[in-house]
Amino acid sequence: MEQYLYLIPALPLIGFLVLSLAGKYLSRNFIAGIGAGSVCVSALITIILGVRFLQSPPGTVYTQLLWHWFLTGHLSADLSLRIDALSLIFICIITFIGALIHIYSIAFMRNDRDYARFFASMNLFVCAMLLLVMADNLVLLYLGWEGVGLCSYLLIGFWYETPANYRAANKAFVITRIGDTAMIIGLFLIFKELGTLYIPDILIQSTQHFNSGSATITLIALLLLSGGIGKSAQLPLQTWLPDAMAGPSPVSALIHAATMVTAGVYLISRMHTIFELSPLAMHVTAVIGAVTLFMAGCSAMVQTDIKRVLAYSTISQIGYMFLAMGVGAWSAAIFHFFTHAFFKALLFLAAGAVIETLHHEHNIFKMGGLRKEMPVIYYTFTIGAAALAALPLVTAGFFSKDQILWYAWSAGGGHPALWALALSGAFITAFYSTRLILVVFWGDMKTTPGHLPSGIMTVPLIILAFFSIAGGWIEWPHNLLHISLFSEQVQQVLPVTQLKPHLPEEIVFQLIAVVVSLFGIYTGYALYYRQSELMTLWRQSANVMTVRNFLLNGWRFDQLYDTLLVRPFLFITRINKSDVTDKLYTGIADIHLQLNKLFSFFQNGSLRWYVAGVLIGILFIITLQLLL
């Protein structure tokens, strides 16, 4: 099996090459076949690989060396793939969900002018993300990492003629680049300290080389964390993600569910040894996660663009994953990534279908009453939203989020404050999920739907909806059922979550979480279905509207960065456009020109001037003679 590993990233890469080089000569069906087919075959290979993997003894690692990339001195990196349980989970999600999104796109993008370019970029995106999670050294990981950045740029700016779109694309690339740069400095530091960039070696050597909590290891961990923050859109580098929904909806699904934003989660969990050696970095991770999940959740509550609601909810959910990793609940973080991928892909694809049907209408308050018109979309979207809201026991989101809530208090790095933030996040999530469903699908119809989505679009939704429910059943809370298929696999690679001593009963936390989620749902129902008077009261209050606008603009981070960074930068570059050092040389040239003018004034052809000059000269010499 090992010798076929390369096919998993190679097939999408071949798809990319064929489509980008020969795309304009191919028919639409052929393009769709190549584009979606390559990822589907990758997904099939992954499933076969996964089945083999489950049958093999624990701790199995598949590796394949493709070629030696470079070797100079101690520095070496190979194009070499490595799969363990952690990467396998990521590969499964990337290829499986990627394949569903590709299939959906066949119909969704059917009438687009640049059909081939779309599938080419999507294939490259999948390929880059696969390389990222399959890399056995940090340089190859960085290759995938930057490749993901490039593809997100290409796809967010896919409709490049609209300024808002290419601005969003630029923003995504630049902001994630800031994180990437911190990360590559982390790589330099790792190499300086350990002399290797091979991931398994780093993990082994770092425990021997560093003392727990030493300054260097903390610095390395924080630098890697910055990389993760950039890609995973966490505070303070989260501002690119809400704008990133400028791309086509399948792209958003791919970015939010299968690729890109989960890269940070992968990086941190992959380098977990380094983080565990630095308690400070772990705390920072947890706090960033907790604050991000709360702030993004607040913003999601007031958004009016359906995709922006989902975008903020992604930031918030990734915040949960960061929180879990920060408190040391590694498998809970990965489990939440796993379930989140299904329901977030589902929500974006369903939202895309709604937007298409309503003639590119994004504003949720211009939707409504779609429950009867598009039942399949309605039911699948509701399942997705329920999973997002963590509806107890019947949705996958519950099982993963419940674990995180519990560990936010009880795990080694847990803290009541983290738990409180996470719990308020749970309330907010339940609230805005309900709001979304009620506003979009219930009430009166405000826009007449056009063509309903075809079967090729709805089938992926149904599959995703199935997993949004059933995906959680492979891992139950310990006190309810002894099923822990997921964490058994993850804990081959990642450490088991350590609990604090003297804890209250887990069931108490679960009940609180359930009550809070249900209360969130009820609040949404009360405010948006029953049209309570509170809403009209708020709409008239200036203070409430100020807060609303503040949240609507994502806590005004954009304005902050604009004032602090963008404008000074533009100012500096603008005033120095003609290069101030050039003044020095033009100055030298000017002095020579002036001297030239001066001396040419004396050489004027007038005999009197020359005679005078000669006389002055003679006088000068005689005076010198007399004086000396």
Binding site: T72, V139, L150, Y160, T181, F188, N576, T581
Partner: protein, 489 residues
């Protein structure tokens, strides 16, 4: 002997072009093309010599003939892996420069190709000369034809640009000449053997202060060529006014002679002095990276923008050289090759756009991806190369340089790394202004022709291959670690 032939082929090819162009301009073009291709084939054939050589780390071709024996000047040329790579780059970009002049040059075709080929001859001479007098001679030979290329076939402000280019480089050259003479006389007085030979002068004993001054003479010439901020001002003017092939040669090759000179002459001749000046050089390199990038961001002239990115990228070269790290040094060689290819490609692209739109002003462009999808794709590839995207050659170069420099100079290396963010900024701005947005140009523009496709395909393939299989290059220049005593693994 084969090396002499390579130069002679170029020189005589140039004369032939000049003679035939009056009657048969097409023939002159073909002669020029075949001349460079012939040299390229010879350079490729040299691989066999290289591989047959038992110790593939040193000079595998060494040829010496008397020239002016009375003052110790000989015709000494030699080739090691480093020079060989540079020769390959020279002929590769030479072929492309002939190809991209195919339609662009309409008047004085013969003299144009004469200048082009003679300039190439001078550049290849610089890379193989092992006699300091011969080196200086070639250094001047490459300069004068390039001056004509700019002043005759350049754009509106070509006279200003050409004079500026000439004066800047000439000031450097003269200082270098003084330094060469000083070295010649000191060595002669010490040993009684007056010679300009590289290996003869290599171990001249000079005391600290003298060594420093002589080194500065060399360094000044190379720093202007490289260019090092604040001696870079000739570059944006020359690059933007030159014809496409001129910009290609300037960015791809002429700048590299500066880097080559530092590695070949400054470090081995003045090991202590170069260590003592290293912090300043690294500082200037980092300044160049940031300053060049900031300037590139604000430009509205496409070719000027690309020219400033060169300033930024050459800062990496300076940082790499003076980090005295083996990894960084290999990164420098990679940067020399990959920057030649990627920036060359961007200049060719700018030339293509100018041919179609008759402007270099990016504020007048926009939305060109729609009508030129292929060129847009190529542009993304090379701007991403320029922004240091992995899997493309430039990444390997910058990664090696920064990683190598980090061990000794973490602070400067970190500041230099910030250049990666700036490079993303100016790259994206360029792509956006030219290719994104609504199409503003009203004239119908054609996508790339077959000839242009060949040029771009050759450049694209080589940048990807260098990014994915850099090991042959690394192996070829492994011996550079012995060039300077303080370079460490």
């Amino acid at each position: 002997m084969i090396l002499i032939w390579m130069i002679c082929i170029l020189l005589s090819g140039g004369i032939l072009c000049w003679l035939t162009a009056q009657r048969l301009p097409l023939l002159a073009k073909w002669i020029a093309l075949l001349t460079v291709i012939a040299d390229m084939l010879i350079a490729c054939w040299l691989f066999r010599v290289y591989e047959a050589f038992p110790d593939n780390t040193s000079w595998f071709i060494n040829y010496q003939a008397n020239w002016i024996p009375s003052v110790g000047i000989s015709f000494h040329v030699a080739l090691d892996g480093f020079s060989h790579l540079l020769l390959l780059l020279t002929f590769f970009l030479g072929i492309l420069s002939v190809l991209c002049s195919w339609k662009e040059v309409r008047e004085k075709t013969g003299f144009y190709f004469f200048c082009l080929l003679w300039s190439l001859a001078g550049i290849s001479g610089v890379f193989i000369a092992m006699d300091l007098f011969l080196f200086y001679f070639c250094w001047e030979i490459m300069l004068i034809p390039m001056f004509f290329l700019i002043v005759i076939w350049g754009d509106a402000r070509r006279r200003y640009a050409a004079y500026k280019f000439f004066i800047f480089t000439q000031v450097g050259s003269l200082l270098m000449l003084l330094a060469i003479l000083a070295l010649y006389f000191i060595h002669g007085r010490q040993t009684g053997n007056y010679t300009f030979d590289y290996f003869g002068l290599l171990h001249t004993v000079t005391d600290g202060a003298t060594a420093k001054w002589i080194m500065l003479g060399f360094l000044f010439a190379f720093a202007i060529k490289l260019p090092v901020v604040p001696f870079h001002n000739w570059l944006p003017d020359a690059h933007s006014e030159a014809p496409t092939a001129g910009s290609l040669l300037l960015a791809g090759l002429l700048l590299k002679t500066g880097a080559y000179g530092i590695i070949r002459f400054v470090l081995p001749f003045f090991p202590e002095a170069s260590v003592s000046i290293a912090p300043w050089m690294i500082f200037l390199g980092v300044t160049g990276i940031i300053y060049g990038a900031l300037l590139a961001f604000s430009q509205t002239d496409l070719k000027r923008l690309i020219a400033y990115t060169s300033v930024s990228h050459m800062g990496f070269v300076l940082v790499g050289i003076f980090s005295f790290s083996n990894i960084a040094m290999q990164g420098v060689v990679m940067q020399i090759l990959t920057h030649g290819i990627s920036t060359g490609a961007l200049f060719v692209m700018a030339g293509m756009l100018k041919e179609r739109l008759h402007t270099r002003d990016i504020t007048q462009m926009g939305g060109l991806w729609t009508s030129m999808p292929a060129l847009g794709g190529v542009a993304i590839l090379f701007t991403m190369a320029s922004a240091g995207l992995p899997a493309l050659g430039n990444f390997i170069a910058e990664f090696f340089i920064l990683l190598g420099a980090f061990a000794g100079n973490p602070v400067f290396s970190v500041i230099a790394t910030l250049g990666l963010i700036l490079s993303a900024l100016y790259s994206l701005r360029m792509l956006q202004k030219v290719f994104m947005g609504q199409q503003t140009v009203t004239v119908p523009v054609k996508d790339i022709s077959t000839r242009e496709f060949i040029i771009m395909a050759a450049l694209s393939i080589s940048i990807v291959i260098l990014g994915l299989f850099p090991q042959p290059v690394i192996d070829t220049v492994r011996h550079l670690s012995t060039i300077h005593p303080s370079i460490h693994e």
